[in-house]
Symmetry: C2
Subunit: 261 residues, 2 copies
């Protein structure tokens, strides 16, 4: 939330430090971390020791820098496998990718942001962690808007409060009001577009993945470029996209579904 409240005790602080290290997107020096957080020297030092000990961080003795550790990659693999969405969606994404020849994204909502959990890339052969786990804005991406549109009021407000509404392109919906109007349209038609709102030349058509009870558990998109296709052509696929999203939703529900953040 805007005004950080609880630190959840010692564990919360340790996790905050992990985030601090993650935010600095290159390995960080002790002093950099000291500057970028509210922790006193000795405290920070002890935490870094503990986390390094635990394999959550790695310490490069030569450079005196800390980076996130491999234990996280291991845990994330388990998280992915346990997730009620990504493993189930896997074969469907393959199918859709083969069928469309376009880039496919699978995303979830995480703290008001879009978190990509899987991807099929039209152009290159494979990219793995390089792409999954990436986060993006919700208010100006297809998957983001598709999910926002089906969020219950309270959750929506919470999420909207976290959007930056930065004007990435001329098409970006850069006010809550404009976005809300768009969300209503999305709710009505059941799918969302990205009309070059995030990056120039990039367009997409996205559908939310819902449980039968109507809860959003993720979103699915087919992405392309204005050079290769048009929004109208993408919309022709919307029926199919929604069909796949519905199937994933149904299968995910019948299995197990974790509470969403």
């Amino acid at each position: 939330m805007g005004s950080e409240g609880h630190t959840d005790g010692t564990v919360g602080k340790a996790l905050d430090i992990l985030d601090m290290v993650a935010r600095h997107d290159r390995p960080a020096r002790f002093s950099e971390l000291l500057a970028s957080g509210p922790f006193p020297k000795a405290t920070l030092y002890r935490f870094l020791q503990t986390l390094t000990n635990q394999g959550m961080l790695t310490y490069d003795a030569d450079r005196g820098t800390y980076a996130l550790g491999v234990r996280l990659v291991r845990l994330a693999h388990a998280a992915w496998s346990q997730s009620s969405l990504a493993p189930i969606a896997l074969p469907y994404l393959d199918e859709l990718a083969a069928e469309t020849g376009e880039t496919i994204h699978l995303a979830q909502m995480d703290q008001g942001q879009v978190l990509y959990v899987d991807k099929r890339n039209a152009a290159r052969p494979v990219e793995m962690f390089a792409q999954a786990g990436k986060i993006g804005p919700a208010y100006c991406t297809g998957v983001g808007k598709a999910m926002l549109a089906f969020l219950p009021d309270e959750a929506l407000d919470h999420a909207l409060a976290r959007q930056s509404f930065h004007r990435h392109t001329d098409h970006t919906l850069d006010t809550p009001a404009r976005l809300k109007a768009e969300l209503q349209a999305i709710r009505a038609r059941g799918h969302a577009f990205d009309r070059e709102e995030h990056e120039p030349g990039i367009i997409c058509c996205a559908a939310p993945i819902l449980t039968r009870s109507g809860r959003v558990i993720g979103a699915l998109s087919v992405t392309s470029t204005t050079a290769r296709t048009t929004l109208a052509a993408l919309e022709e696929r919307s029926g199919r996209i929604k069909q796949v999203a519905a199937r994933i939703g149904a299968e995910a529900e019948s299995w197990r579904f974790p509470e969403q953040g």
Copy 2:
């Protein structure tokens, strides 16, 4: 040394619990977790609350189960990007995959086990988290043996002590003695084979990725099947594999982060 009993205080315990949840490969009930760890009810309960609060776990209210949370996926992405190996190796893997048409693995050593950090799959189009983050045994895989062979003595002993030496196939080197002999041969020729030691029909040729000072930072392999090729044919590629491994090693070592210009 060996098996230190330390839990690294509160943070260590919290992380132990994450591991416990990860080990149960389906969402776990409170009682299951209670049974599978040394924690008293109240303590476990508090930890689960905190971790859920922090997004490291998700709680499914309907089923009363805990699973690993999305925050881990996010952190793992950052870990991958910050790593001095995987992002650097990316283009080389693409190149090698295109060139050989075979499956490529990139692995690191983690607690005596092989941790796969990237992959190019010959057959299917793409699998992301589904494959990366996976762990495997060191003593009976090409990448594992390639890394073990170049480990300093003390680290090798540590790693060997953690091997199960389970006899997966008739070809598995199932004693430390046999493995040590093999490691010497690997050291001599600079590359390792997997002669169907882990899975029948699966063979590979692997090379360690070393820094100039000789420290192992990972390994690279080209994997195939006995149906498609032979070990001799794979060995013909060994020169190229070692060349790529050497380039990755050199680049990983020389890479300085922006500020150091």
